[in-house]
């Protein structure tokens, strides 16, 4: 009986999800200015600082373990926020590229197609990194953040910077 109830509940959750997401697929996203206004500014230097190994080492040496763990947790959570911003900005790029793709000019649609591909890749990448960061939030001193992940942080940093650098043409320089 419990199994049947579980599946009935799951089916309703699934139905609600499908209807909600299908509604979202129809969102036109508004004008380019509206999309640009949804961009979230990213303080790149602060983000670099958060993922810097040297900084982490310095804090580990100069703080007592309890304080270090607490501060590391805060730093990782802040890094996650920056990555969320990058993912959100990539979603805006996807919308932009999807519209540009419909252009009758083959050069523009081809450029938009490439942009779309890379924006998808960036967003997928963000999804892969965030869960790993949450693990490192839970265990800040367990060495669960490998060196490779630090490189990944750096890549994301550059991604965020470059995403931001492209928007001055839309009058977004002041926001970034």
């Amino acid at each position: 009986m419990i199994v049947a109830i579980v599946f009935v509940a799951l089916s309703f959750i699934g139905l609600a999800l499908i209807l909600y997401l299908a509604k979202g697929f129809h969102a036109t996203g508004g004008s380019l200015n509206q999309l640009a206004s949804q961009l979230q500014p990213v303080d790149l230097n602060a983000f670099r600082n958060l993922i810097d190994k040297g900084e982490e080492l310095y804090l580990r040496e100069h703080l007592d373990p309890a304080d270090f763990r607490s501060i590391q947790r805060e730093r990782k959570l802040a890094a996650i926020e920056y990555i969320r911003c990058a993912a959100s900005n990539a979603a805006i790029l996807i919308r932009l590229a999807e519209v540009a793709q419909q252009s009758p000019d083959p050069a523009i649609s081809s450029a938009a197609e490439k942009l779309l591909e890379n924006a998808f890749r960036l967003r997928l990448y963000c999804f892969r990194v965030v869960p790993r960061l949450y693990v490192s939030v839970l265990v800040p001193s367990a060495g669960l953040v490998p060196a490779r992940l630090a490189d990944s942080y750096d890549t994301i940093t550059r991604q965020v910077v470059m995403l931001g650098l492209q928007y001055p043409t839309q009058g977004m320089a002041s926001a970034l």
Binding site: A4, V99, N118, R121, L122
Partner: protein, 251 residues
Amino acid sequence: MIFFQYYLWVAPHALLPVLLTIIWRRGWHKRLPFFFCFAGFQLLQFLTLFALSRFVTLSSISLYHWVLTIGLGISALLELGAVFELAEALLLNRVSLSNSLRLLMKWSLAALLLISAAASASFAAIGFHGAARIFSVLDFCASVVEAGLLVTLFLFSGALRISWRSWPTGVALGFGISACINLAASALRAQFGSSAVLAVDITQMAAFHVAVVTWLVYLLVPERSAIFPTQVFGVSEIALWDRELHRMANQ
């Protein structure tokens, strides 16, 4: 009540020839061949079962059940093919997503098959024997797999903020609504057996009706597209964004 039951049984199947004709005339059967076959098979199965129901007696009811069960098996396979076809049409044609989504769909399919097999073993299915019992299990397993794959597809697209504005969206939505309602109904039938048959049948027929209407609406209503009317995109601007993203994604 009898009229209502007949309406739900006949009406969606009466709409199917309209749907198939429009798809054929537009040449869209080449875009989603599995879906086209699925719709055609549904119509064929309905005609067969309707004709059988005129002549069937209590002693030959098992023939009706076997036709229904075999038809369900074929429908489930065609629907599964249509779901993968939708994934291809909506997502897999984007190079960067194809590997991730293919992997996700394969693992989801494997996990859903395991879950459905384990869950169906725990159901009582009171009063079902022979073909009716096989039908009950098959219906439940197919519903779990279809609903699970469609939810996965929608979640993946939603997470990546991919816009769906084309006819395949309507097909996916119709399948999604129908699969989720079928899942609830088939779980109840598998648990309560023959005592729940009438309520479950009505629910499943209503779900299929909604699906057919959704497919037709998406087929007939012109596609909306997101346009920035005052904005002109420059090649150099888009190329610059792409170049930088490409450089970063490859690192």
